[in-house]
Amino acid sequence: MVYFKKSIKTNLPYSPNFFFTQILDLVFFLTFFYLWRSVYEDSDTLVISGYTLSGIITYYFATELVFRFDVIGAIYLNWDIWDGYFTNWLIKPIRLTFLYILDPIVEKTLVIILALPTILISYLIARNFLDLPSLSYFGLFLITVGFTFMFNILFNLMLHTLCFKHGDQDNNIELINYLSWLLAGAFFPLNFVPGILGKILEILPFKYLMYFPVNVFLGKYSPKEIVLGWLTMAVWMTIFYLLYKKIFRNGLKYYTGVGR
């Protein structure tokens, strides 16, 4: 709790920066909103790959919500190892994994609060096109987002630990995250991808980063399917955590603390 409060205080001076970035992120939603509105109007089609115009606009609205939990830039393990600052944490009587999980939670708590006006603006612009979920489905969505957030944190922590042995992973982490968002359906619904490729994307675990929580918001899954999704995510999170622990323990043997 002490670390949480301290981190909030540390991040507060940057809040205008966070806030302005959130406003600028509105561009993504607006672009997709007008793009797909134009597509549906030009094609005279009511349903495309199972999505009505309201469905697709709601898809991007929910995408905007889930994107706020993107942890890239909010986990500092790679940088700490690479510049030797990690030694400071090693000598302290605290659980390091807990600390590195807490960092993105703190930052994203602040981001979510600052993003509320932006989300409200998105809602006001697109309100006539939004299919908002029932209260119970919204609750299921929030739980799913919690799972997604942890899934993303553990996946990224695993990537960060590679820095112990292989040096700076900044570019690799950026590349893998970008690829993950693409495969997760962050830019378009996965069932818009035709043929076998679309089916492969639905099997891969990346869909739990975006496609799955967004479709929970849209009410496209039954409660049973949602629980099954949570269990699958829990299995993947366990795998990521075990891999992270293994790489972390091995990696410590390579850590010199010299920095660059």
Partner: protein, 263 residues
């Protein structure tokens, strides 16, 4: 002018030497850039698998637009993006701008071209090829006049993009550090990639006048593909001159505010 190109040559030569030493980092950095371009393209292809026209433009016309935007953005990201980014994040806050003030060369240009990233050019052949492919598949031929005006507007768009970048990062002189200033031009690229007439009227008005990103993308491509209206051509050129002038004024005003103190 000769001095400007000579400095650029030296900076690029040094950048290549540096990048060769960190080839793996360069490779992954290049892949991120390439992937970003591929995603833009994938979205357009998916959109056109559902419709024949977007804002009245067919797939090849839209591909020309997207390729044109990516070419402009890629050239900037190789030439001026890193330098201007470092200015926003570090130079004012740490007092490093002193270094550029002491050089016998314009500080604004000097900062802008100081950190070229050669590997960002990896996307260039890809989008030039898409541009050429789409032009070849148009159902009509483009006249020499269209090409002539388009080349002129290409140069103007390139300068206008730079001027907007300078205008959006110059507030760093006053607010010292803000990552969000850098994001402005990055985010605007998303809007530029599609035909302007998919957006509502107030949107088009705003992005053609106050933050004229449609003058960088939509208008030059419209001049290439359709009847080249002289009003568009004059507008883009005048706007470029005006924004470059404003960028210069704002930068100079910012320099007066610069205290050289570091933190």
């Amino acid at each position: 002018m000769k001095k400007f190109w000579k400095i650029n040559y030296i900076l690029y030569r040094n950048a290549i030497r540096r990048d060769l030493k960190i080839s793996l980092t360069v490779l992954t950095g290049s892949l991120v850039h390439l992937l970003d371009g591929v995603v833009s393209l994938a979205i357009v292809l998916i959109v056109y698998s559902k419709t024949d026209f977007l804002g009245g433009w067919n797939i090849y016309e839209s591909l020309i637009l997207i390729a044109f935007v990516q070419i402009i953005v890629t050239l900037h990201s190789s030439w001026t993006k890193r330098g201007t980014a470092d200015f926003t994040e570090k130079y004012v806050r740490m007092g490093d701008y002193d270094f550029y003030l002491t050089k016998p060369f314009d500080p604004m240009l000097s900062v802008s071209i100081s950190k070229p990233r050669v590997y960002n050019l990896i996307r260039l052949p890809f989008f030039v090829a898409i541009f050429a492919y789409s032009v070849c598949h148009l159902e009509y031929n483009l006249s020499i006049i269209n090409w002539g005006w388009f080349i002129l507007l290409f140069v103007a768009s390139f300068i206008l993009f730079y001027a907007i970048r300078i205008l959006t990062i110059s507030p760093a002189f006053w607010i010292v550090k803000s990552h969000s200033l850098l994001v402005i031009t990055d985010r605007m690229q998303n809007i530029m990639k599609y035909p302007a007439n998919i957006y509502p009227r107030f949107f088009i008005l705003f992005f053609t006048t106050l933050l004229p990103i449609f003058a960088i993308s939509y208008l030059p491509v419209k001049v290439l593909l359709f009847d080249p209206k002289l009003s568009y051509i004059i507008y883009v050129i005048v706007l470029t001159a005006l924004f470059l002038f404003l960028a210069r004024i704002l930068w100079r005003a910012g320099e007066k505010r610069y205290g050289s103190a570091s933190s």
